[in-house]
Every structure is written in structure tokens, then in C-alpha cells.
Symmetry: D3
Subunit: 290 residues, 6 copies
């Protein structure tokens, strides 16, 4: 039987990814031995791999596809096919950014001021390339985690570090000099695997359902009853991600109106719908939106 | 841009409140510095405030609106506008009650028996007022938490303490002499803020959606297919919070019947619906019921 | 007022059971004293009882009904009425099995090889019966938990132990010689209680709703819009657990199609539905499917 | 090489026992696989065994010696050699007692009142013997833990349960009818092993050092300087577990007095020593007292 | 029998206090019911009381003696006898200080700048007295914990709060305007109890042993062998908290020198002792130094 | 004032190191901001640095001295002065070893078999050097943690990984082909700092006291009384790390004998001492042995 070898990112994205697969229709189970993961699909074999190493294993074909950050694909310079961007994260909706950071009171104001300096980062190759493209000579050293602490304690002049809101940096009296890269999770595939028809179809299936589950995260179903007189007025303000479903109610001139909308607009929309005569408004959760 | 300053109760109600706002459409995020809370609405600024102090800050206008217990509004004697009662709580559905408590074997049987005695409580002002209105002279001392322990260990004769079921009191061999106050969460606003049209509309929007989310908590959607013959019999027993939505099914004399009902009656209703011929009965969850 | 005395299994199944009752419509609350459980139905009194002892208490009428494993009912040899099988468990969907286990390198290959040996197990009576029916003489000793350790450390030759996937056994270099019993949770009732009309109706009500909640666990609602042209093609591949609900859309030749399907087929079905022209496909969660 | 097979009680006594062995001079290490324990003495092999099962394994020679409670030795009716009583426990210094317990308001006042009743206990054989010796007919059933709950919830009339202070029983409104057995940890040996000279010496060595460590637990060293004039007065009140060590101080008529005393008398002794002229009194901790 | 009623501070000092009593010779045990504490001295009855309320209960005679902070004694204005200062704390050796705190960028520089302002604090009475003695009019409001947050979030202009190192304040961008009070734990007694000879002797006994245990915390025993030639040189640098104990060694011209010194000087002293010829230097821990 | 910049290893050795410094006489405190550590010696400034990066910072003079593993010093190829080996670790007394590991059933038996293969390790430079010295060509890739998992899951053929007992490797069905390096903690200094007289003396002071505390870990004091007749016999078997201290007892022909011995021999020695007539044998703990 054909099997697709799928890499799941170990570490900070692990639980969010397993949760996403669950909502997409695949249960990935923790088995008794710590390195294996069982999945309820005989055509899929899941392996936990560090996000930093994922693209290397996909490139060499040890894995057919994997989920990992754009940052680590670039760092490894891996030649893989990016099938799809997947925008999800642990806590916030903000994209993660790799930024050049110095102490609040550092004289360094622009990238040029770093000429001849030493920088610590986990993203060594990417950072070297970034500065060499801008013809600035710097010395980039690999940092084993706790990178922020190195600037805070004065062990070095600058670091390249990942952040979402930047608020931890500010609280630690650090300053962002420049943003070098925005990153997000990507679904990548090995080129050869992607050319294989069976594997490609399987990858596309997973990709479609992951997208469906991700889209549902920010959406809800809204259902309400509207009289024939008010129907037009209500329809005017309903956003149309998918066209609303309108059905006649039995033996009456009322309609049942149902639509799928972004959760973010609900709080603005509901007061307006109520003013325009919609009654019995309910909101219900969704699992997937294709 | 206009901003509404909202007080969120710190402590035991904090998580339940943040969860309620989330279901209502506002995400309140824990940021890296412990005293701030970010919310995904630029028109709202959230501040964590102890429930005990909330009404004082709303009264003096430091906050435009806040959520806190009726008990602490009374204790502070704050002159604020009560916009809405919000019945929700950490664990149970029972209202919290402030009760006068003595040891099981105490000779005190009525409020009168407390004449000249010393009472410990966190609700000093309210308790003083309560007894003075009944012309009973007592000495009320402020208790720094662990109030129950003071009667249990014989450090005092009586306390005024909050309880839900009273079962902890009974387990500690304490006896309730009288209930002084039932309390629940209230949404309060500063008088001046409530007169400002923009602020008032914003407060009303939040109030509407909080109510919608709270109402959905105890309700579910029920959907079933019913033949033309059975429709009347089924409709007779369907509760009508909002009128059921009835739709003809395609090329048949069956109907799809859908309604919103209290979760509490579902367990009684489903066996009856089945007996009256409803088929394909499903129950689905709701986020909001307006 | 009539009251049904219900036994809830204490221990590993406790939380899953309380969660199942909640989804079925009964809230079982942890009260302040550890042995009691309050339930929001005055006609029901819940008692926490060890799964091992449940059937004994149901048999002697101390409880009217209870939930427990088939294995312990057999072990106790209790004469009770099995009302219904309830297939749910803590972690996996695999049935729990009681198996005879030896060390990987043990010479024991068949049950016969155990003639005259000593076996440790928590299921003493069942195991004695099992071997005596097969006319194999063995000495069965009660094991106080940690049964696996006894074979691992060489304290005995064989054990009878419960397992789901067998992977922990393999990881500990143990080998399954034979499966003795598959078990699952059962809803049992006292014979006399089941003859009482009021108690029987109450038991059946609980049974119906537990089943409804269990069935909903693996199912979802699927809704989509389909044009008149594509309707037949789409209907062909829709599984029909309950007949799909098809409704005309207002002033158009499109239809709204809604159905309840097993969560397991969704990941296969959605790509096909999309190919056959279904649009606006959404999946939503269910609480109960009757 | 000769090896002594030693059983360490698994469960509530496990950590206290490992700690005691450590203070006695043997480090028992948790290894990566959960059922084995490594000890830094090639002549000893440690096995974790439930206290309830220990004496059975020592009796049949699977283990040479073990530590377990007197209660479980009696329950199993094991024929083993009791080498030594070891008085130590998890929390308190009170001996554990197995008591017959009923509800506070039960009519049962004496053992005789139990005639014909059903009793739940984990100590089935011991309890049966105890009542049969007193010619009282009762039905004793095995209880799978949570025994107290069975009386509290009215599932049975009486239990035989272990307690130290009895305060949990009182808090749960239970009443002790009679104490059946006082128990403590005992070091037991297999009869044959104890006849083997090498094994016996090894058992005696372990026994001696366990005792030394246990004795040191309640004792401290006390050292002080005393002038020649006060020496007699000070010596009068010094307890003499081992004779005090008195040494002349260099070029003076003062003495250094050092003694080992029970920690319990220190708080009474120090004020008196100070009054009688002892100066520079210090107390220091001990690891072992032989 | 006579009993001394002793108050133990509940909360942050609770564990440190129980630990101190243990080292002093009294074991205070956690019993099964949460408000009681048992102590292994029939002449003592321990009660857990909030530090804030301790002096009130000692003043009114509900307790004979108690341990609490000087700050809360002053806040309550209690008329009690201070028997002894006890310098110990949870984490550091620094005294706790109540300080007036404002935001880093506040215009408030001196106490005078607070004229007419509102201050939040848990130490209301003390703060009022402090400012009124300096003839500065301010409005002091009671703060229910989380006091720092109120300045950080701009809910008020200044607070009076307790701190040890001030580093948390600095990290939160707050500034100390003035220190109002240094505080430490004090052993206090009710005046009448202290006049009773039996109670007074018991209080003095506890006080002596608490002091002995506290002193031992920062001290160690140091023992070394020194030749006759080097004795004088070594003695010159030995600190003399209590006079060193010097003893002739058997059949040699060497001496054993033993002394009690502050742990803080050990790291400086040992290198010097080694240079002056001391050999076999060992350091050992102490339980008590009287 | 002069200050010595000391690097403390962050991570798995952090707590053990802080505990060791505490026993040596320096309290390193956790301050409120996570990257700083305060120490109670104004001449020392502590910085938390990952063990992997320590030697780089010591080499470039950012730190004067540091504690880290020999493995990481070799990996970084840092030119630093090794002042002292410090044998201590988190759990066991076994030295950590870097070993070449393959799957149990791999055909790889010797280093030569790795010719042309890919190896994953955290110790890239050291591993490259090791194989190149042996003229074996391999491809070494950096592994981001979870290295074992890579062989277990078949992502690569071999890894170089650190282990103590090797038991986890065996449990995961892995096999050690060869040991490449034994490692332990070392105290290293910057060459220039070590030439500075003040810094060197400070480094030597810290080194002396760390050694004293480490040595005391495995040693205890033993004290006993011996009669003149038995003295010679007892002295014969006393190990002599430092010469025993023998003192005449007052007005008797008994002697007090005191010695410092390895904790490991105590359990053998005490039974023998007892046989030779020593009485009142006590063992007490030590803080430091210089």
C-alpha cells in the first residue's frame, strides 16, 4: 500500500498542528514510545521533526511533505515545493517577524552601524546572506537559545531574533532596528513526491482540508428569521463570503436567512441586523469552511 | 479616536469574564507585562481591577464601565449606573449569598442575639448598615480573608461571609443564622460616560453581545425531520423561545423543523419527540442567541 | 418523590463519564466533600463507586443502575441486567482486552504450557474459570496493581493484564500468548429496579440520551449549496445515515443540502463533493444524534 | 558473587524507604525503565513490590528480605522471620491502626452488634479471623480502596480501615467502634535465606545501619563549654544515652562537654543548661547513632 | 493544665515560621481540617492568623503571643508587648520596607508634592498618621492587593507599598519617593499573659529557642588540626563569637581547634587558615547556637 | 572596585551549580528579571550562559571565568585555561560520555563502517575532527536536539549523543558502537584574567571552596568513644583521609576518636568498629572538607 511520509513540527507548534489535523479529519495519537506518532489513516505516516530541520528531511526525500516555518526553509536554503501558506500560530494572529535588536540606549540606529560588529542569532545563514546582499561586513555567531539575554547582559551588540508583538523586547529595554523577515507556517513537499500522482493527490487532499479547518477558525454561521418586507434591507448588510442561503418558511411570508461570516464582524453586524428587523438571530460554530 | 475604558474583575471571576468576552466577540490577551491586557478592538481599553474596588474607579470616572458584584457596589456605596445583570459564575448556577454564620452549637439563633457582639467580615460597611437599619448594635471588624477560620477556631462569635451552596459551611460545623444579601455580577457604567452618545452606544453594544453569549450558554439548536401527518403533534410540544423554522423538503411531504431551546428541557423533550414521530433528531451547539 | 440511584465509575473512567453525562444533559458536580456528587436532576442520585465493585452494589440493590466494565461484571459473577453497551474510553477507540502475558523470551507459547504454574492478575475469578473450563490446572494469585512489573522483574511466569494497543507490553519486552476477553463499558441495572415502571422509564431515558451523545461524538453536520443540474450527482455519493435535508433556495434553481455523516468519511467526501460542483461546503459540530 | 534480593515497598512508603536507605548508606536510584531500581552495592538487588504482596514473595523465596507493614504480613499469614521493627512513617510519629468504623449516628456500639452484618475492608483474611476468634458471624467483602466512602454514602454498615490520628474519620462524621490492630514497618527475611551465613550477615548489616539512621532522626549532638566549678551541676541534668564526652580545654580550667540527646528534650534542657552556667551551647545534626 | 495560645502568621510567612519552630524544637503539623494546626507540646495551642490581624487578637487576649510584622502592629495601633525582634524572611536577608512609589516619569519628587492627592495602600492608618504628622493633607484609600498595578495603569498617582530590593518596582518603571518604614517579624505578647509567671516562662523559653535556631542559620562549626608552632598564628585570625575550643591531641604536640563562626566569613577565612598551616579543615552545619 | 565576571551554566546544570556555590559560601539569587543573577559578594558578577557558549565568552574575555563541560570547550576549540576539574552532576556519579549510536539491528559495527554516511549530532566540530583524525570520511550535520529520535525513526544511520548509563539507549533499541569522549564540568578562566594577580587570587579562592564543598558531599564525620585497651585495634581499621583526632576523656582511660571518612565505607566500617569495641558511634554531616 502507498504511504505518505508526513513531518509534524516538534516543539512550540506541535500541539497546534496536531489540533489542526484533528479538526481537518486526522487524529494523531501520542503512543507509548515518545518518538512515534500514530495517525488514523493507513496511507499516512507521521514523524515528529524539529521545525528547524524539517525542510532538510523533505529535501532529501526522507519525508514526502512537512509543515514548518518559512524562516527555517530559507535558513536551510532547501530546494522544496511550497504547496500552501498556513496562517496559524500558538497565541496571536500576528505574523512572527525576525528583527535586528539592540539595547534601547545603543548607538546603533541603522544596519550600516553594524559594520564590523558581532551578531548572535539562531538564523545564521539567513542573516549572513541578508547582510552580504547589502554589502555590510559582520560576524554572525550561532546562538543556543536565550538570545535576548545576550544583548540584555551586554554579552554582544546586536542579535537577530523572532518576535510577534515586540512587547517582550520593549519590556526588556531592547530596540528593534529593522525587520529582516516575516514568517509563517508553510506546507512543503519534496519535488519528486509531488510529481508522483498518488502522492500529489494525497498531499492536495490534506492541503484542502487543513485550509478548510483553518478558514473555519475565524468564521461562524449566522442564522435569523426575516419578514418579506425587511429581507432586502437585511441582505444589503450581510457580507457574502459564500452566498446566504434563503428559504421560505412554511405557510408564512417570513424567510430563514443563513450565512457564513467572519467572526470579527459579528460584533458590529448583530446590533445592525437587530435594528433592521432580523429576529431570532443565532450564531453557531463551524468545523470547516471549504 | 474614542476609547472606552473597561474594567475587568481580577481574581476569581477573571478567567470566566475573559472567556465570556471571547464568546461575545472580543479577545482579551494576556500580554508579557502582568498588569496590562490587550483587546482586539481599538475602541476598548481593558484594565484588570479587583472586584472590590471596581465601582469606586467607575464612580470617579477612571473607568467608563466595569463588571463587578452587586455586593461590592453596595459595600462601596458607589453612585454608578447599573446597565445590566449578568448571571454567570465560576462553578455553579446558584447565586452567591452573604450570610451571617455562627458555630453549629452557638447559642445565637437570631440577629437580635448578636447585640453587643463583635462580627468579622470583608463587607464592613454593608454589614454595619444592615444592622443599624434593624437597630441592633454590633461591632463590625474588617477580616483579611480566611474569615470562616475565625469562627471555627473560636476567635470570634459570628461572621458575615459569602457562600453558594452552604455545604462548606456545614462541613465545617457552622450554621447560617440569616441571609443578608444575594449578589450577582452587574455591568455598571459611570453616569457621565453613559450620557456621552458614542460611549453609550459602545456600552450598549458590549452589553447586547455579552447577553447574547450568556443566553447561548444554556441553549442549543434542535433539528429534526417530521412528516406532514405528524407536524402538528410535534409542534405542540416544542417550546417557543424563538418561533421554530419550518421548511418543506424537496419533492416530499416531509418538513425540516428547527428550533432553539433551553438545554435543560432537551433531556425531557427528545424522548417525547421520538414518540411523536420526529426522525433524524440532532442537537447542535450555539455561540450566541440574540 | 422517586429517585434513581446511579453509580458512576470512580477512577480512570470518572472524568470521561461525567463529561458524557454532561453532553447527554446531566451536570454532575463535584461538591466540597469528596465522596458526594450532586446532579442537576432531583430524580437522580449519583454515587461514585469503583468500577470493580459496581456490579456487586447494583446486584444487591444498593444502586438501581451503574456504568462499569464488562470485565468486572464477569469477575464478580453478578446477576444484573445489561441495558446497553456504551463504547467509549479514555484515550483510544480500541477495545480494552485482557490478555495472558509472558516475558518475550519465555518458553511459554500456549495456554497448555501454563499447567501447574502461578499466574498473577487482578481478575482472579474470571481467570480461574477460564482455565478450569479448558481443564488446565493453574494457581491464580491476586495482584495488587503494577501487575506488569511482576513479569518484567521475574517475580512470576505469567500475568493476565488489560491492554489496548499492546504497545506498552511490547516496549517492556513482554509477549501476548492469548486474548482472554474483550471488554467495554456497559450500562447495567438491578433486575427489580428494571421491573419498576418509573425506574425503567428513567433508565431508558438516560440510556437514550447517553447513546445520542456517544453517537454525535463521531458525527458532524455537512451543509452545501448545489445547483439543480448537479443535485443528482452530489446525492449519489452522500452517505445516508439520516436522509439528507434538501430545500429550495429563494428565487433560484439552487438547493441547500444538509446531512449528518460520520466524521471519518468527511476527509474523503469533501474533495469529491467539490469536484461534483458543491459550493459553500461547511461542516459543523453536533451535540447529539438520536 | 552473592547477591541479596531486597524488596522495597512500592507506593506510600516508597520515598520514605529510599530516603532511609540513603541515610543508612545505600543509594537506590530510579532508572529509566520504571520497574527497576539500581542500588550502589553489587551485593544487593532491589525490587519494588507492593507492601500488600511483600511477605508472599519473601515467604516463597523470590526475595531474601523485605520491608513491609505488620498488617499485611498478618493478612497474608506468611511464615517469615521478623528481623526487626522499624518505626518510621510518612507524616506523623503515631502508629497506624486498623479500626472498625461506622457512621457517627449508627446504632452499632460494640463488635457484637455486627452479628450478621456485611463489612468492607482491604484486610479481608485478618478481619475474618478476628471476628471468628470472637465467635461473631459476619460477612467480610474485599474493598477496592476508597473504603471510607462506602460508609459515608451508606453503601454498607461498617468498614475496617487504617488511620493514624482518626481526625479524617471524625471530619467525615464516622465513629471508631474498636481498634483491631496496631501496625508498623517490619524488616522480614525468608527463613532459608536467614540460615545462609553470608545472607544473614548482609541482612544484619543492613538492619544495623537502618536502625542507626532511624535512631539519629530523633537525636542531636549538643556541645557546650563549662567551667570546672559548674561541671558537676551541668552533668546532673544531662541525659546519658551515650556517656557525655568531656575534654579539658587548653591552658584553662574549662571543659568541653559533648553529648547525644533526644531532640525532644532539647527545648526543655537548653534553658536549664544556660541557667547552670553552660556557655557557647550549640546543637548539631546527626546522620547515624549506633 | 496551663496552655499558651500562640498565633502563627498565615500566608507568605507561614512555611518559614513552621520551619523555624521545627528547628527550634516544636513540630507544628498540618492536620486534615484546614484551619487547625497541631503542635507536639501539650502546653502550646497554635492558631493560624493573618499577619495583618495578629496584633488585634493578641491585644484582646484571644492569643497569648504571636509572630507578626512590625508594620501591621503599627497599622493596628495595638497595645502589645514586643518580646523580641526575629530577623528572618522568605527569600532574602534584606529588611522589608514600606515605600511611597510613583511612576518613573511622575512630577512628584517629594512628599510635599502629594498635597491634595489620593494614595492607595494596604497600610491605611499608618500612612494617614505619617502624613498628618508632617502636616501634608492627602486622601488615603484602602487597596485590595495588586497595589502596584494601580500606579502602573494610571488608576492613581501614588501608592505606599512594601518591597525588599526595589527591583520589581524598577522593572515596572516605578520610582521610590521616600521610605516610610522598615519592618521585620516581631514576637509579641499580650500584657496580661506576660505578667502571668507560667506564661511568661513559656514565652521566654520559646523566644530563647527561636533565637537559637535563627542564629544557627547564619553560622557553622569549623574544626581543624593545628601544630603547636602555628597555634598562635591561627588563633589571631579566628573570630570569637564563642571562644574556640582547643584540645590537645593524644601523644602529639598538635591541637584540635574548633569554633563557631558566621557563614559569611568562611569563604574569606579558609584560604587564610590554610596559609597559616591549619590542616584537615572541616565545616559542619549547626541546628542551634545559644 | 575590582569585579570578577563569572559565567554560570544555564539549563540542566544550573540548579546543581547554584546549589554548589551556596554550599561553597556564595548565595546566587534569582532576581525579578529573568536574565540576571545577584550574588552576595560585591567582587563577583554572575551571568547565566548556555554551557555550549560558555567557553567562547570566556575566551573573548566577556567573562573572566566560567563553569562548563569539557565537551563544549573542545567543540568550540576555545583557547582557555582549565583551572580545575569539578566532578558533579545532576543525578548520578557516572561521567557523561559522548558515544556513536546506531539502531540495534544496524549493520554498522565499527567506525570504519560509517565511511560515506551521514551523522547527526550537536557536537559537529568535535565529531568532524574525530573522524578526520582517523581518516574516515563522513558527513556531519547539526542536530537541533531530540537526536536519539532521528535514529529511532530511521531518519539517519548514526548519531553522536551524550549518555550516562546508556540504559535509555538500550531501552530505545539503540546500540553504542564506540565511546568518543568522556566529559565533566571544568572551571575555566580567560588567560589574561588569570595573569591579573587580583583576579587570579579570586579565582583560586572560588576554586578552593568549590572543591571543599564537592569533597564534603561524599564524606562524613565519625565520632566514637574507645577504651585505652581497644584504641590500637580501632585505629588499625580507620581510614586516614585526614589523621583522626584523638582526645583523652576527663578522668578516665577512655578516648574520644573522631575522623573524616568517605560516606561509601561507612556501611562497611561501622559493623567492624562495633565489633572492636567502639561505643557511642555517631555519624554527622559536613559542609566542607578542605
Amino acid at each position: 500500500m502507498s504511504v505518505l511520509k508526513v513531518g509534524i513540527p516538534k516543539g512550540s507548534l506541535e500541539n497546534a498542528t496536531i489540533e489542526l489535523f484533528k479538526r481537518s479529519g486526522w487524529k494523531i495519537m501520542v503512543s507509548s514510545r515518545s518518538y512515534f506518532r500514530t495517525v488514523d489513516d493507513d496511507e499516512v505516516r507521521c514523524t515528529l521533526v524539529r521545525a528547524q530541520e524539517m525542510s532538510r528531511f523533505v529535501e532529501m526525500g526522507t519525508l514526502d511533505m512537512g509543515l514548518t516555518g518559512k524562516d527555517w526553509i530559507l535558513e536551510n536554503g532547501s530546494d522544496v515545493r511550497v504547496v500552501q501558506d498556513l496562517i496559524y500560530s500558538k497565541t496571536s494572529a500576528l505574523p512572527a517577524r525576525w528583527v535586528l535588536v539592540v539595547a534601547e540606549d545603543s548607538p546603533i540606529r541603522t544596519l550600516k552601524d553594524l559594520e564590523g560588529k558581532k551578531i548572535f542569532t539562531e538564523l545564521v545563514n539567513f542573516t549572513k546572506r541578508y547582510f552580504s546582499e547589502r554589502k555590510i561586513k559582520i560576524d554572525v555567531e550561532f546562538s543556543w537559545g536565550a538570545t535576548e539575554g545576550k544583548v540584555i547582559e551586554g554579552l554582544c551588540d546586536a542579535i537577530v531574533e523572532v518576535t510577534e508583538t515586540g512587547s517582550t523586547l520593549r519590556a526588556n529595554k531592547l530596540r528593534i532596528v529593522e525587520e529582516l523577515l516575516q514568517t509563517n507556517t508553510q506546507l512543503i513537499a519534496n519535488h519528486e513526491s509531488y510529481r508522483d500522482p498518488w502522492k500529489r493527490e494525497k498531499i492536495e487532499q490534506i492541503s484542502l482540508l487543513l485550509q478548510g479547518a483553518l478558514r473555519a477558525e475565524g468564521m461562524v454561521g449566522l442564522k435569523m428569521n426575516v419578514s418579506a418586507n425587511e429581507l432586502k434591507s437585511v441582505m444589503e448588510i450581510l457580507p457574502s463570503i459564500t452566498a446566504p442561503t434563503i428559504a421560505n418558511l412554511f405557510q408564512s411570508d417570513w424567510f430563514s436567512v443563513e450565512t457564513i461570516i467572519s467572526e470579527k464582524v459579528v460584533r458590529e453586524l448583530i446590533p445592525q441586523l437587530q435594528k433592521r428587523g432580523a429576529v431570532g438571530i443565532i450564531e453557531y460554530p463551524l468545523n470547516k469552511v471549504i
